[in-house]
Symmetry: C2
Subunit: 405 residues, 2 copies
């Protein structure tokens, strides 16, 4: 049984199921007798400002918890805030705030940067002899965390991409004149989500014609040439590209079209406009109609199309972290081990955060086929179990209902 | 009872429910004893090439018809082909093909241009004493047809926009830093779909901050000024704009960013890039992060989020056209008369095509409020009944299933 209070935070980019992990932490901590369960408002940044909410007051019924599972984005708010490695003053300040609230368990739901936060705090905690347990709950649509078979959030985004592409392809094939649709999918360095475009193909769908992931160099001339070749026998072409594709000089394709783009305080340029740039290029070179489609934030917040498998795994991951912390674990992250794909059997476990933080897992090169223009069936076999099942939104007055702070 | 054969075609931009109208025509014609029910492949263009399919062979079971109702885009393919007014050779050719196949009933599902096709053919048919009945079935997400209360297709697109915006807003509000999301919605001259952004607001959703429709002139400086004003008290701003907004000089806003855009054979430039242009402008002037979101074709093909009300009305419209033609009507279009909004009661009727073809209905000026930056509750009351209910996709192996030719 848990002694003392619990705090949980959400960090990094939103997903459709990050709130399911929050629900999982909340429910498990409640079941294990935690006293207060606090939420950090805007992640570690909020904690540093002592901005906490009492989750027991926000989630009063099972219905609230069910709504939370169906609500996209981060219920508690998020942040993009990286602790400075070795900044002991900041570590001490965090521990002081935690101690002030008699918090004995710290859960952080997020991706790579969030796992780094757990790594630093767990190391400092054990250095100063704190009894606070620090646990990471993985979350990222990008599916780029090491060690784990996959990450919560990926399955729902992949299901969104597969489902919506099937609809976009039906739409794109409607005319008997030449046209090209280029669909832009998220993923700066890892092509897992773009690879999910391969899911659309089936007995009732032609699938996409080409898929370009950021793991391999993108050649604009070859791209135009290959598209022209396909156009010789097909009027309507649909192509999936990652927002993160780069040319041989190491530049993002979208940079070509972004002279005036806003650069944030970290020096990051927003990565979009790839599809538009490629459409303009194809229109100019091939003289046909083109249409860019950006899935944009829709692919990470389309909770109405979330995968039930993903939602329950996200929930489970939250619960597993609590259970492990209750048993005395710290500095660990929940991971998924796949026992088999068909039938699908996945067993959650915990793993040393040091092996996971700051390591990026990309799509295996051998799954990128057809002269780097397609994704193999191995990927489809890997991803299919993760998109199974639906947990429909509660529709009220014609629209999905959510819960907010 | 119907004598002879039937032909049905689909034309113009796809919608989520244009296939429901096709299903409605097919089912009603079958019930009324039609002999063969043909489909034009790629609309009137296909008919001119004598490219017909026997729908009885393509839709063999009730399950096929149910799948058709859940399949977005035009099952038969579409075209953007306008008959040349007064081209009697072409009229004669069409009648010759119809007569060759013993076709006595001609149904065309589409928007303004398609109604013009019905108008011309019905007039020519009666001029030459043909006994073929020509009937129009309305379809357009743009909701811009005259006389009718609304058009099939609009409700589902509005439901998609309201639902997805609720998710985008949850996503956009996640950080405590300043950012602006500009969402671009279809509609060249009529702002009905952009107005649907007003549906997102509710007890569980903050709604969008501003809505800009093409019915009123767009002023870029005032837009920046108003956004800056909102930003004084709010970190996260979400704005909905129509792709068709124009500045005082009559130019589309997106044209400013489209020096190299492809111009089609009709001289039409693709209208997109409005959100991106406005985001770049806001980022430069207000120095904050911005994100353009284009709903693009997703809003017209997102059948997995279709409105059940819209699907059944689209089906009903197809059936009504057949029933009227069977009673001897020709040169008419199905329209919807709203008896009441709450409770919602809608009665279909038929109307002279001459009053509908080539007339465009826009959003009433009195519904555009707050210095042209918002949409009134009258619109919400009008649109709410049209987005009610769901007809979930048949999910197979994690994805929606469709039917294709």
């Amino acid at each position: 049984m848990m002694k003392g209070n619990v705090v949980v935070g959400q960090s990094g980019g939103p997903t459709s199921v990050i709130n399911s992990s929050l629900a999982g932490v909340f429910q498990a901590a409640k079941n294990l007798g935690a006293n207060k369960i606090y939420g950090m408002v805007h992640g570690i940044k909020g904690l540093l400002d002592d901005n906490l909410v009492d989750l027991g007051e926000k989630l009063k019924s099972n219905m609230d918890v069910e709504l939370l599972k169906r609500t996209p984005s981060s219920f508690l708010g998020s942040c993009r805030y990286k602790l400075k490695e070795g900044d002991k003053d900041q570590y001490a300040k965090i521990l002081e705030i935690l101690n002030k609230h008699d918090i004995k368990y710290f859960f952080y739901i997020g991706g790579n940067d969030s796992m780094d936060t757990i790594k630093q705090l767990a190391a400092y905690g054990s250095e100063v002899g704190s009894d606070i347990k620090f646990m990471g709950v993985p979350k990222t649509i990008d599916n780029d965390l090491a060690v784990t078979d996959h990450t919560p959030g990926f399955g729902s985004a992949a299901k969104y991409i597969g489902s919506t592409l099937k609809e976009v392809i039906r739409d794109a094939l409607v005319y008997d004149t030449k046209n090209i649709t280029v669909v832009e999918i998220m993923g700066r360095n890892a092509g897992w989500l773009t690879a999910a475009a391969a899911l659309a193909k089936g007995p009732d769908c032609e699938g996409v014609d080409m898929i370009f992931v950021p793991e391999v160099t993108f050649d604009i001339d070859k791209f135009v040439e290959k598209t022209a070749k396909i156009q010789e026998t097909k009027n309507n072409i649909v192509i999936a590209v990652s927002e993160g594709i780069k040319t041989a000089d190491g530049k993002y394709v979208c940079e070509a079209s972004q002279a005036n783009a806003f650069v944030d305080s970290f020096g990051h340029k927003a990565l979009n406009g790839t599809a538009r740039f490629l459409c303009d290029t194809l229109a100019a070179k091939l003289g046909c109609k083109t249409r860019p489609v950006e899935f944009s934030t829709l692919q990470r917040c389309g909770a109405h199309l979330a995968s039930a498998t993903d939602i329950s795994e996200a929930f489970l991951a939250g619960g597993k972290a609590v259970e492990a912390a209750d048993k005395g674990e710290s500095g660990k992250v929940v991971i998924f081990n796949r026992v088999s794909s068909d039938p699908y059997l996945m067993i959650p476990d915990i793993y040393d955060v040091n092996a996971i933080a700051n390591v990026e897992k990309t799509v295996p090169k051998e799954w990128i086929v057809d002269d780097n223009t397609n994704i193999s069936d191995e990927f489809v076999k890997y991803a299919k179990p993760l998109i199974q099942g639906e947990l429909p939104a509660y529709m009220v007055d014609g629209l999905p209902t959510h819960i907010k702070l």
